[in-house]
């Protein structure tokens, strides 16, 4: 085969692109789209859980702190205090686990 001249190149370039069947492509596109949406919703769920976890820790911990000052409870060890204020977050994690699992 000889090399092309300018006119032959123009003719080659001006030819329409081949027609491609859509079936398989559309199925793939749909699957990829679903996968992306699923990943996005998982990330959103994770962040929501984290935000809720922070709220559920900070608010009860503040109450526990205030209650200790109010009732002058000074003999609670730091371990017990931590466990007491971590209870809500543990409960939330258990509920979250069952929700996501279902």
């Amino acid at each position: 085969m000889n090399s092309l001249n300018e006119q032959q190149l123009e003719q080659l370039l001006n030819q329409p692109l081949p027609s491609l069947q859509p079936d398989e492509f559309r199925r793939d596109a749909y699957e990829q789209f679903c996968k992306q949406q699923q990943n996005r919703s998982r990330v959103l769920q994770l962040f929501t859980m984290l935000a809720l976890a922070c709220l559920c820790y900070v608010i009860p911990a503040t109450f526990v702190d205030q209650a200790m000052i109010l009732f002058s409870i000074m003999d609670l060890s730091s371990t017990k205090y931590m466990l007491a204020s971590a209870m809500p977050i543990l409960m939330l994690m258990i509920v979250g686990y069952f929700l996501l699992d279902s």
């Binding site: 000889n2 090399s3 092309l4 190149l9 080659l12 329409p16 596109a29 990829q32």
Partner: protein, 181 residues
Amino acid sequence: MLSQFIRRFLQDNDQQAFNQLVNACQSQLRGYCRRLTLGDIALADDIAQETLIIVYQQLGELQDPNAYKSWLFRIAYRQYVNSLRANRLETHFNQNQGVSPAEDDAYQPHLHTDNEQLLVTLMQDLSVEQRALITLNSSFGYGHAQIANMLDMPLGTVKSHIQRGKQQMLATSRKLHPGAA
């Protein structure tokens, strides 16, 4: 016709209309992506799919439904350029980690027609911009000014890229077939 599908999808959230929109343009979009990727069919279809996902999410932002196709090609071009950047970063990372190059280095394109195969072969020494501009200009019939507007490039750059690209294709042809033209 396309603007009707767009209107139906945006106003009535008609998924069937979006399917028809995809059907109407998928062949051109994939053909364009195959030129950009130098005939890498899998990568081209990935780019086309990612493009359509962006279209699905951002179709409401399209101000002029008549400019749908040029908007589509612009997104596809950007997607491909982004994938090249990501690939370059990955290659750089792999080199630093001592990982061997990807297995598909010995990739050979296998396209729909002999002409398409020949065109992709002639385009192998062109830059991404040149491949995109020549395809948009010659195969889809967009004018220089339209392409400049579509891809946010100066008009002079578009013209020179197309001219140099074609010269390069002729040079590649001479290199591959060193006979008289």
